[in-house]
């Protein structure tokens, strides 16, 4: 077996370990949530018997360990449980909401990466000039700005002042423009900073000087020779951000009232919908961990020198 295969196998095994831990943690956390879901469902004025019957129906009268193994067994069969309130299987809810979150993540990351990498490369090539300082300052500001505030500003400008886009709600691609823009804005700073520092390391290498001496055009030198070698830390960052966004841009989805995964999670927490919280959180953790793993493996395509131990 080659290094890469061994590495992937090892990472997959440790992935299962982590996910098992996550499932235990999520199960325990959710059972520590105060309040009796059975009581919540049957209503405040229901009799003790009705509550008891509901508890039995939900399996809440079983010992904790039995409940956990029931839960795990269902998970293995692909059953994430059923929402206590809508009666719809959590998995179906996730499937119907995921496309919105996915689109947001893709548009946002593409936008943020394109602009961020470009700015970072420019800053590195023009190191210690006014332009470099400007990019650096803007990146630091973008990192420090509270995202909910930036979202409100974007809404104020594009929805209220210009009237170009809807303020909130989901109605096709058009309503995803502003949310994607804000998500892109959040990641520009980090990607620009990382690109700059990674490019600076590369620019000083001997082969860059050789290329210059050979008369390779500046842009070809920077992009073909430079960026290609500086790309690994940038990919890590983009992968992490993408994973985080797939988990649902909670604030963006909430402010724009987009029915994605993040909004779904917040709603479930507020309503104390235990199966939904369990299902969503586990799904998010799975997605996040898998995206990180894939990011690690993608390196090898960009840099064959990467050896996996």
């Amino acid at each position: 077996m080659c290094h890469l295969q061994k590495y992937v196998l090892k990472r997959f095994l440790s992935l299962f370990g982590t996910l098992f831990g996550v499932s235990v943690l999520v199960f325990l956390i959710v059972h520590m949530i105060p309040g009796d879901p059975a009581r919540y469902i049957v209503g405040k004025n229901a009799s003790e018997e009705a509550v008891k019957a509901m508890r039995a129906q939900l399996g809440l009268d079983q010992p904790l360990i039995t409940q956990y193994f029931d839960y795990l067994g269902n998970l293995v069969r692909g059953d994430l449980g059923t929402s206590l309130f809508t009666g719809i299987p959590v998995w179906e809810e996730i499937v119907s909401r995921f496309p919105i979150t996915f689109q947001l993540a893709v548009y946002g990351v593409v936008l943020g990466s394109a602009i961020g990498i470009l700015l970072g490369v420019i800053a590195a090539v023009k190191q210690n000039t006014l332009l470099d300082r400007l990019v650096n300052t803007l990146s630091t500001i973008s990192i420090s700005a509270p995202d909910f505030w930036v979202i409100l500003f974007v809404i104020w400008l594009f929805a209220y002042q210009f009237g170009w886009f809807p303020i909130s709600g989901y109605d096709g691609f058009y309503s995803l423009v502003l949310p994607s823009l804000t998500i892109g804005l959040f990641s520009i700073g980090f990607i620009a900073k990382m690109t700059r520092s990674s490019m600076l390391d590369v620019i000083k290498q001997d082969y860059m000087r050789t290329a210059e001496a050979k008369g390779v055009a500046t842009w070809a030198r920077v992009f073909a020779h430079g960026l290609q070698n500086a790309v690994i830390p940038i990919i890590t960052l983009i992968g992490l951000q993408f994973g985080g966004l797939l988990a649902g841009a909670v604030i963006t989805e909430t402010v724009f009232a987009l029915p994605g995964i993040g909004y779904f999670a917040i709603e479930a927490v507020i309503k104390r919908d235990i199966p939904t919280v369990q299902g969503v959180v586990l799904f998010v953790a799975l997605l996040y961990t898998v995206v990180n793993l894939v990011t690690d493996i993608v390196y090898s395509f960009f840099d064959p020198r990467v050896r996996y131990e």
Binding site: G17, T18, L19, G21, V22, L25, V26, I29, V30, M32, I33, P34, T140, I141, I143, S144, A145, P146, D147, F148, W149, L152, F153, I155, W156, Y160, I183, F186, S187, F190, K193, M194, S197, P233, T236, L237, L240, Q241, G243, G244, L245, A247, G248, A249, V250, I251, T252, T254, V255, G262, A265, I266, V269, R272, V277, V281, V284, A285, Y288, T289
Partner: protein, 305 residues
Amino acid sequence: MNSELTKYSADPDVQIPVIEQEIKRGHSQSHWSMLWKRFSKNGAAISGLLFLSVIIILAVFAPVIAPYPLDQINFEERLLKPSATHLFGTDDFGRDIFTRILYGGRVSLMMGLISVTICVVLGVTLGVVAGYYRKLDMYIMQLMDILMSFPSLLLAIVVIAVLGVGLTNAMIAVAISQIPQFVRVVRSAVLTLREKEYIEAVRALGIRDYQILLKHVIPNILSPMIVMTALIFGDCILAASALSFLGLGAQPPDPEWGAMVMESRVFLNQAWWMSLFPGLVILLVVLSFNMLGDGLRDALDPKQK
């Protein structure tokens, strides 16, 4: 930290070096004064420090400085634009926004301070134990891996789901969501340190573990700890204000900056100043902490620059 993205583990700032101060006695004075010399040349870091000092003084002396009483409601002065009488304008209850921001500093800065303290205490303990005791390392890092399988804001929200909505719980939730990155930095610093000859030497002398940790390990990882604390402070304030914005942290009418931005949402089109100023203050405070952290890192390790 922008709570929406998982910026922590990918933050270029997290690669914080261990600076060794092997000869401590007698040299520490000049060591710290040299640090200050390097630090004070960094304009951005100094302006961050100055701005933070001003904000802290304003928050502490809010009752003296504030032009109006905290909760003075005046419906005749609803939604007034910024002017000489109301520097930052008034909100929908006719309350002076400048006054509320001054008082809000007490809540927001305190939320940051307490969550950072919890984070540092737990993070250093777990990180030192994981780095020093190889047998416990696996368990602690496995737990951190599990915590890191959640994006940090979601982790904080889940913690709040268990503990309930409110200021104290929000601080605990923020601390827990930031701990993994702190543990990782401390652990890796301790890992490099424990292989050093002088640590081996004191161990050979038969000195007890807790004494080695307190006297030889922790003093030598102070540099990365200080830098990390400054950087995490900004992140904690951002995360705490995000929770308040979502209605999970500070509750209106408490004048917390994030909660003030939430209240302003409805009036965004009529009264931009209601959202602008509290958000701007959060931005400036977090920016100051980040510049301070960057400055400290450069001063503590000039090679990195």
